[in-house]
């Protein structure tokens, strides 16, 4: 056949033509734009309107940001430098930078202490957040609260060591008794820790703090974004275990435990957080004698923790309710006791379901820490609204400061949200 053709046809191509690139309008960014931005007339119209809107927003803001003044000593100096042009006065951020981060009373020579605590925070939370890391790193997590306390507040090192020893003894007692009886182990551990703390507390010499390696810094001197971070981290990490306990307690078949949990959750959820904070800062000082009041930071931590624990408890209850009854029955039929069934079968599934809800509460809680500014604690927002805007130099700078605060909070909250999405993907075991 081919011979015949060779004689009758002048030319036959024997190999395929190389693929030519698709025409310009059907490939690359143009195709993408045609498909996504200008597919239909209505679509085109919306795109043009949206572009115009973005232009309207960016046209004044970009020059404002790019013209920003970073070096000046006061707002009027900023305006002199700008000389009528539109521009931001970011100089307030550079001049008050340490105040925004650490508050106005934290001694400047000790800024390295909270900074170091912040860096160590990553080392401490990493093994908790990323469980592929070696488990031995959890030692760092266990030690971190005591190290961070010592770094930020300073004072004698005996206090955190004593707290650590108390926790260690409590854990040892728990381990010793938990095999025979969970309640004996749990309450025995708490009692042992308290005995160690009270005995040890009597032994710490008077005035040890003054001579300590790290100078003590009172809670009242904490402030700035540091305070938000401290409150956020402490309260989130405390409220998750408490929330789990409350959620399980609410499902308990023991009426007293059940009712205590129900009343606690419903009461706390029915009261605004700001009311609780006022009680913490204002009312409690009426009940305590003037000299023996509980530390303000501790009071606020207790109140915020209680608040978010109640919410987390309800989120986890939702997770528990979503589990099929068969899971509970399966655990029972394997002969597991309550603690084992919860730990090995129920909670891992319920918590996985609850992750979005828990993260939602955690993000909300972190932002709620700015509410402490109304009880005259100088967190980031409190610093901005109070001392910085009230100084004669910077009165009148709003956008720059509040925009900066928004940026800091966005970075942290977005990070939390991205982590939770990663966690959900990582834990996904079903095949949807």
């Amino acid at each position: 056949m081919s011979d015949l053709h060779a004689n009758s046809v002048a030319f036959v191509r024997t190999e395929t033509i190389p693929e030519s690139p698709p025409p310009g309008v059907a490939s690359g960014p143009i195709k993408w734009m045609r498909e996504n931005l200008f597919a239909t007339p209505a679509n085109t119209l919306l795109t043009l309107v949206a572009i115009y809107m973005i232009y309207l927003i960016l046209a004044p803001t970009m020059p404002w940001i790019l013209n920003g003044v970073w070096n000046a000593n006061s707002l009027s100096e900023c305006r002199e430098i700008l000389n009528g042009k539109s521009g931001a006065c970011f100089a307030v951020l550079s001049e008050r930078w340490p105040q925004l981060l650490f508050g106005f009373k934290y001694p400047a020579e000790y800024y390295w202490r909270p900074t170091l605590a912040f860096v160590l925070l990553f080392a401490a939370v990493a093994p908790v957040l990323f469980f592929d890391l070696p488990r031995k790193l959890l030692v760092m997590t266990a030690l971190y609260p005591f190290i961070a306390f010592w770094l930020i507040w300073g004072g004698t090192i005996l206090v955190p060591i004593l707290a650590l020893v108390g926790c260690g003894v409590g854990y040892a007692v728990y381990q010793r008794f938990v095999a025979s009886n969970f309640a004996a182990g749990f309450f025995g551990g708490i009692a042992a820790a308290f005995i160690v703390w009270s005995l040890g507390g009597a032994m710490i010499p008077e005035g040890a703090s003054e001579a300590a390696m790290l100078q003590p810094v009172p809670s009242r001197d904490l402030g700035g974004f540091m305070l938000n971070m401290m409150l956020g981290v402490t309260c989130v990490s405390l409220s998750i275990p408490i929330g789990i306990a409350l959620a399980l307690g609410r499902q308990s078949s023991m009426p007293i435990i059940k009712w205590i949990c129900v009343v606690f959750i419903e009461f706390i959820r029915g009261v605004p957080l700001i009311t609780l904070l006022f009680v913490a800062s204002v009312m409690l000082s009426y009940f305590f004698p003037p000299d023996s009041s509980v530390d303000l930071f501790l009071r606020v931590v207790i109140m915020i923790t209680m608040f978010s624990a109640a919410y987390i408890a309800e989120v986890i209850r939702g997770g528990l309710a979503a589990l099929p009854k068969g899971q509970y029955e399966a655990a029972d039929s394997l002969g597991l006791d309550y603690a084992q069934a919860m730990r090995l079968i129920i909670l891992p599934q319920a918590l996985k379901i609850s992750i979005p809800g828990i993260v939602n509460v955690a993000v909300g809680l972190f932002k709620d820490t700015t509410l402490v500014s109304v009880i005259s604690m100088f967190d980031l927002v409190g610093m901005i609204r109070g001392p910085i805007l009230a100084s004669t130099e910077w009165n009148g700078v709003y956008w720059e400061l509040l925009g900066f605060a928004a940026l800091l909070f966005f970075v942290v909250c977005y990070g939390i949200s991205q982590y939770s999405q990663w966690l959900e993907r990582r834990l996904a075991t079903d095949h949807r």
Partner: protein, 338 residues
């Protein structure tokens, strides 16, 4: 048995509380520090600088009291309070005195059980308008939109003023001073009304302060002064006379510059009594003889404090006005040191 234990504990607690309330002066001396409540930040009156040192007109009063009692103007623990926490902080004993631009009113004095020891600034509600409106008196504001902070006495004063003058207005309710500045500059309202000192401070932060004027009418009385708890008259006397010492010092021409020279002894017996070279006024208060000298040296006399923090040479630029000495036609007047 159990009940009696509880009652016993209550009695002891009550006695302890009573003892604590009775001797604020001794408490302060024993502590070596004065706990002074200030605002969380108000331009010119109290605000920490970039290094965290408190400065301002109200702060000056705290420092003067600390200097009078302890001899050291830096021996003050400043406790920032908000409008909501200030009274409980004082009543619960967390602070020894409150110097936080607080208006002296009947109910605060009588019902909340505080003692106002004097007035360090006579304020009053005023109006600010853009000068291009061409308004020269608040009575010409018929039909104006007014930016006003909700839930304050200024709101009530405003309603009273407009009703009394039989003119109408449209209120634009706002929450904070910061919001008010933005709304006013954006033209959401023709007039902004709040305390005159606050208006002056706000105006000073504008890009073009000259385009805005404060109207001459002051429509309310806002005497601002330091206060202490009811029931501890000795401590109240200390704070009252520390403030009076600053006022009298200005009246008698005693300044932080010439005080060293004058305290060597002068021909004016009142100056001598004030500075402790004659008589025993300090002893009567339970303080050292040079208490008033220390108080004045802390930040200068009343006039010096005023000029340095809120006076005409500062960005706030308040004139003395009502806050001039009585000899200059103002209301600042101290009882004699005798």
């Amino acid at each position: 048995m159990k009940k009696s234990v509880i009652f016993g504990a209550l009695t002891v607690a009550g006695l302890a509380a009573g003892a604590a309330a009775a001797g604020t002066l001794d408490d302060v001396k024993a502590r070596g520090k004065l706990n002074c409540g200030v605002t969380t930040g108000l331009v010119g009156f109290a605000a920490p600088d970039a290094n965290g040192n408190w400065d301002g007109f109200d702060v000056g009063v705290c420092r003067a009291v600390a200097a009078a009692v302890l001899g050291d103007p830096t021996a003050v623990e400043f406790v920032p309070t908000t409008g909501k926490t200030r009274f409980t902080a004082l009543a619960s004993g967390e602070i020894d005195m409150l110097a936080r631009n607080t208006t002296w009113t009947f109910s605060r004095d009588v019902d909340l059980k505080f003692t106002f020891v004097g007035v360090n600034y006579y304020d009053g509600q005023g109006f600010m308008v853009p000068s291009e409106l061409g308004v020269s008196s608040a009575k010409e504001l018929d039909g104006a939109t007014v930016c006003i902070q909700t839930g304050t006495t200024t709101e009530l004063n405003l309603a009273d003023f407009f009703r009394a003058n039989n003119i109408s207005y449209e209120p634009v309710p706002i929450e904070t001073n910061a919001e008010a500045q933005q709304q006013y500059l954006a033209g959401a309202c023709d007039v902004y009304t709040t305390d005159a000192s606050g208006l002056a401070a706000t105006r000073a932060t504008f890009e073009n302060p000259g385009e805005h004027v404060l109207l001459p009418e002051i429509i309310s009385k806002e005497p601002l002064g330091p206060l202490v708890r009811h029931g501890d008259n000795e401590w109240g006397d200390v704070v009252r006379w520390s403030l009076n010492a600053l006022v009298t010092a200005e009246e008698l021409g005693v300044t932080s510059a010439n005080i060293a020279e004058l305290s060597a002894g002068t021909n004016n017996p009142e100056v001598n009594r004030l500075l402790g070279t004659e008589g025993s006024l300090g002893e009567m208060l339970g303080l050292s003889a040079d208490w008033a000298k220390n108080a004045i040296m802390a930040g200068g006399n009343y006039g010096e404090l005023f000029e340095k923090n809120i006076g005409e040479n500062t960005p706030i630029g308040l004139a003395r006005g009502l806050n001039a000495q009585w000899t200059d036609g103002g209301l600042i007047y101290s009882p004699p040191f005798r």
